[in-house]
């Protein structure tokens, strides 16, 4: 475990940031927010074709570049910083790791190359109408058919479920929780896009009615494998949160340096200084924790489950704190639709709730460290 970015990783970060600044600045984010699909397909293609980002952490034998989770997390931090609306998280984090963690070599060979080259969008459907982030609460049922399996039930809060070509679905069989692959055009599948508080990340509800599906990995083994996937997803999301929190802090500090009130920049007032320094303290703490978590995943450390809950709880709250204080420091202008502060605020709250909030993950953490 090195905990220091290599020159190549630093260059990766710079190039992703440059790309986002050029191709997906916040003005473009606003256009994508209002668009039909919710993301810019040409940006997506460039991310894949020019930069190869979708493939970055996928093993070479499955069509990927075989770099580490750290590289992936660097990309996510930058995407989070720029609030880039993109099926990246659903496809490259949730779906790709669900496949990898399931340990199904054939399925990986079939399905990962399309994810890696960006030609197919995938996602993971595990949450249901209950809104529970606990794998134990999954009820959607799978029964064996002649050629495969048939799924019946509903999934909700599925990231980019409205545009995904491939949906990995967690379902319960007689053997336990299992993972299935469902094609977007499968029979009996109805997808409804859900309007989202955070317009930069779309969600969908899926109804499956005898929908044919392919079993991924071992029947009944997904309780373990998906838990591993969700731990990675928590750290990946934390990387996004870190990027967003830093952006909110930067925005607040920049404004505090130039905004004049009572003939002084507001950043000269202790009230603002102390807010900003508290934001910095939390952002830097989130950074230390997230970077550790990234390396822990890359090194397949035993402490990943502990760190995942720790990092998700901390970064969720650090980001929300930064985004909320950014609005307060901006005053009235920060409350307007035209100002970008609310985009971060809504992403922060949504990312906090998604995959479970601070209380949920602190309880997990207590359990995982053995209290």
């Amino acid at each position: 475990m090195e905990l220091v970015f290599s020159p190549e990783q630093e260059e990766l970060r710079r190039s992703v940031r440059r790309f986002i600044e050029a191709r997906s600045p916040l003005s473009a984010v606003r256009e994508q927010m209002e668009s039909e699909t919710g993301y810019d397909a040409s940006v997506w293609r460039q991310l894949a074709d020019q930069m190869g980002l979708q493939s970055i952490a996928i093993p070479e034998e499955y069509g990927g570049a075989g770099s580490s989770f750290v590289d992936l997390a660097i990309v996510l931090e930058e995407l989070g910083r720029g609030l880039v609306p993109s099926p990246f998280f659903g496809s490259v984090v949730l779906a790709a790791y669900a496949l990898l963690d399931a340990g199904d070599d054939a399925a990986c060979r079939d399905l990962l190359p399309g994810i890696a080259d960006g030609s197919r969008l995938a996602t993971l459907a595990f949450t249901e109408d209950s809104g529970s982030w606990d794998l134990g609460d999954i009820t959607l049922s799978a029964v064996p058919e002649r050629d495969g399996w048939s799924l019946t039930g509903a999934k909700s809060y599925v990231v980019d479920g409205h545009v995904a070509d491939l949906i990995l679905v967690a379902a319960r069989t007689s053997a336990g929780l299992s993972l299935f692959a469902v094609e977007a055009d499968a029979s009996g599948l109805t997808r409804t896009e859900l309007p989202t508080l955070d317009q930069t990340r779309r969600l969908a509800r899926l109804v499956l009615d005898g929908t044919p599906a392919r079993l991924i990995g071992t029947d009944g083994a997904a309780e373990t494998s998906l838990a591993r996937t969700l731990d990675k997803a928590a750290i990946a999301l934390a990387a996004e949160q870190l990027g967003g929190a830093q952006a909110a802090l930067d925005m607040a500090v920049d404004y505090a340096k130039v905004r004049q009130q009572f003939d002084q920049p507001i950043g000269s007032f202790q009230a603002i200084k102390h807010k900003a320094s508290e934001m910095l303290l939390r952002v830097e703490s989130a950074r230390s924790a997230t970077y550790y978590g990234m390396w822990a995943v890359a090194d397949d450390g035993e402490d990943v489950p502990i760190v995942a809950s720790l990092v998700k709880a901390y970064c969720s709250e650090a980001y929300f704190h930064a985004a909320a204080e950014n609005i307060q420091i901006h005053g009235g202008i920060g409350f307007t639709w035209e100002h970008d502060a609310h985009l971060y605020f809504k992403r922060a709250k949504s990312a906090q709730l998604f995959l479970g909030d601070g209380d949920f993950h602190r309880e997990n953490l207590a359990e995982r460290v053995g209290i």
Partner: protein
């Protein structure tokens, strides 16, 4: 528990209760919840019932009984109600489920300023029109670059014969879409020291070279306006308190509404609290110890608003000045509401991620509370400015070295 405000207050309560029973149009109370919050995050409610004949009849009854702008002195068309009577009026209207019709900024700010600083002719001309709603005011204080720092107003007012011509920009104008008049603070002497070159002018708002645009908020609604003045004109008669004396007029203490809704303000928070409890039950989380702590925290704060209101009113009923608790009220409820919004959306969990179907950026009730509540700690003086004011005025701590005192701004 009821508080005892003395025999005079009791007599007034009986009188008002009888008057309501005799004069409120049948069915008015049943039409809508008149006492719900007027708006949550700018998504207005109650717009249709206000167009009803029952509402119009009620408005006329109130006008006849001088129960609009009722705390204004009788000579100005009010009933000269004291703070306790004023609160009782609100309470009894609330109890009966009928609206207490108010005249917004006209009643609360323009009227008092005219009474304190206007000429007899100005009072004669403008006050009656506020009571009848012939003139509906919006506020023209805040500017894009001067949120809390009112002394820095840049909008220019130039005297041109018997008119004043105004050019510049105002912002954060609540209720702008209902207004036909705006009270504007503008700079009429650029050479004078900051606070000495300002004038307070009552400006016709419509067809007067003022372009008003709605300012969309993060909630998706447009509660505020921004206005571009390109040579708007007002008669010199409309300058209140004299040219270049506008700072003093703007700072006029708003003493007329004291008491007001002290003992009813908490009711909307209390209703909201029980709605939140219902939500917790619906989600099956009302036995969760963490949720119970948050609900008990919220209940505590709502009740403290009630207790503080009762305490304030009891003081006023005894003819005493309210204590420092009065200065903390805005900070208290705005910070409370912000936290409540967070509790609600966190309780919703995954459901909080999803908005209702509909055109534009529709939000659910709790999402609206969550988003809209961020404004409460910003407008009418940010929480930071409130804390400075409390420290300096209620605790007597010294002003910062060389800094200007923080004037209490009054956006919205």
């Amino acid at each position: 528990m009821e508080i005892d405000l003395g025999p005079e207050a009791a007599a007034f309560r009986t009188e008002i209760r009888g008057w309501i029973a005799a004069h409120a149009p049948a069915e008015l109370a049943a039409m809508t919840d008149w006492n719900a919050a007027a708006m949550t995050g700018g998504h207005s409610v109650n717009a249709e019932p206000e167009q009803s004949p029952e509402y119009a009849a009620w408005e006329q009854e109130l006008l006849d009984a001088r129960l609009i702008c009722a705390s204004w002195p009788e000579q100005y068309g009010g009933r000269g109600l004291g703070p306790v009577e004023n609160a009782i009026l609100t309470e009894e209207f609330h109890r009966a489920g009928v609206p207490r019709i108010r005249r917004g900024f006209g009643e609360g700010m323009v009227g008092p300023s005219l009474m304190a600083h206007g000429t007899a002719e100005q009072q004669e001309h403008f006050l009656r029109r506020i009571i009848t709603a012939e003139d509906v005011y919006c506020q023209g204080f805040s500017e894009p670059d001067h949120g809390s720092d009112l002394g820095s107003v840049e909008t220019r007012g130039v005297v041109d014969g018997d008119e004043i011509v105004i050019t510049g920009q105002k912002v954060w104008t609540s209720g702008f879409y209902r207004a036909n008049m705006m009270f504007v603070l503008c700079r009429t002497d650029t050479a004078a020291p900051k606070h000495r070159g300002l004038s307070y002018v009552l400006v016709p708002f419509l067809d007067n070279n003022i372009e008003a645009r709605p300012l969309k908020q993060m909630t998706g609604a447009a509660q505020f306006g921004q206005e571009f003045f390109d040579g708007a004109r007002a008669p010199m008669f409309n300058v209140v308190g004299g040219l270049n004396n506008g700072w003093k007029v703007a700072m006029t203490t708003l003493g007329f509404e004291r008491g007001g809704s002290a003992t009813t303000q908490h009711l909307r928070f209390e209703r909201e609290f029980w709605d939140l409890v219902d939500l917790a039950r619906k989600l099956g989380r009302e036995r969760d110890p963490l949720i119970r702590q948050q609900l008990a925290w919220a209940y505590t704060h709502v009740q403290i608003m009630r207790f503080s209101g009762l305490r304030l009113l009891s003081q006023l009923a005894e003819g005493r000045d309210p204590g420092p608790e009065a200065s903390t009220s805005k900070l208290f409820w705005s910070e409370y509401e912000k936290r409540l919004g967070e509790i609600a959306i966190d309780l919703l969990g995954a459901e909080g991620l999803v908005r209702p179907e509909g055109e534009g950026y529709q939000v659910s009730h709790w999402q609206d509370v969550f988003l809209a509540s961020r404004a409460g700690t910003i407008y009418s003086g940010t929480s930071e400015i409130q804390r400075n004011i409390i420290a300096e005025r209620a605790l007597g701590l010294p002003r910062e070295g060389g800094h200007k005192p923080a004037p209490k701004p009054a956006t919205r």
